[in-house]
Subunit: 147 residues, 2 copies
């Protein structure tokens, strides 16, 4: 079994998608992350869900748990407003050394090794330079557990 056999359709966002829209997409569809594509519809990177939160949390609360504690409950509930009109571009962490992007011919083992190395439960799959979808940790495990 190869990546192209296990691939599922998966929503993409661009660098200019509003971060709040990305948060809605993650929540509505219970996704582990989003595929970020460039202007040629090629996968640029994977945006992990937790990194959308990072942008919404004021910087002074990110590093010091004690400071997050002093914000009262009512205001804390509204923290996603901190996203304002910022975009996916601003959510992205530093570009990692290796991206969770697999070729269509990648085997189950290659995909497992790539997920483990990049710690990403989501791989974008590219076949002949075209983004064809994603393979998630759950799809990979479902397949591997019946093999």
């Amino acid at each position: 079994m190869r990546a192209r056999d296990l691939v599922i359709g998966f929503p993409t966002v661009t660098l200019d998608t509003p971060a709040l829209e990305a948060a809605r997409l993650l929540a509505d569809r219970d996704l582990p992350g989003l595929i970020v594509v460039d202007e040629r519809d090629q996968p640029f990177t994977i945006l992990p869900g937790t990194q959308v939160l990072r942008l919404a949390v004021p910087r002074y609360c990110q590093d010091d748990p004690a400071l997050a504690r002093v914000v009262d409950e009512a205001h804390a509930d509204l923290f996603l407003r901190g996203l304002g009109d910022r975009t996916v571009r601003e959510c992205l962490p530093e570009q990692p050394r290796e991206l969770p992007i697999a070729e269509g011919r990648a085997t189950v083992l290659e995909m497992a090794a790539l997920m483990a190395r990049t710690r990403s439960p989501l791989l974008a799959v590219v076949d002949n330079d075209v983004l064809v979808g994603a393979v998630t940790l759950h799809v990979l495990l479902d397949h591997a557990l019946v093999s």
Copy 2:
């Protein structure tokens, strides 16, 4: 809203749970990770799904994508057998500086900051030293998006 209001029941494993059983639990219930408890049922750490894969992938394939590629497709499909009778204890990555464990009184903002810092889409929630369940990224976003 506080952690204790958003908490959901969540399966736990111990350090001695077989890694293959952990993989089944992740797959069957579509979980982003598992709460690992110690012998006193206290949360010890969070096991991210991708780290179960790490243990199943032969070490020589983990670091070098070219070596994963030479394993033929039929054998690659069976990579989970590499887990053998190993346990969750052996899956755990180096203990991180900060664990994704929140107190019941943590606000939504505190939980968001903790998920962003630890990059964990899953927090174990402890109230009066008792594990009461978990808050996931999706539960947190669902709440924050309607506030």
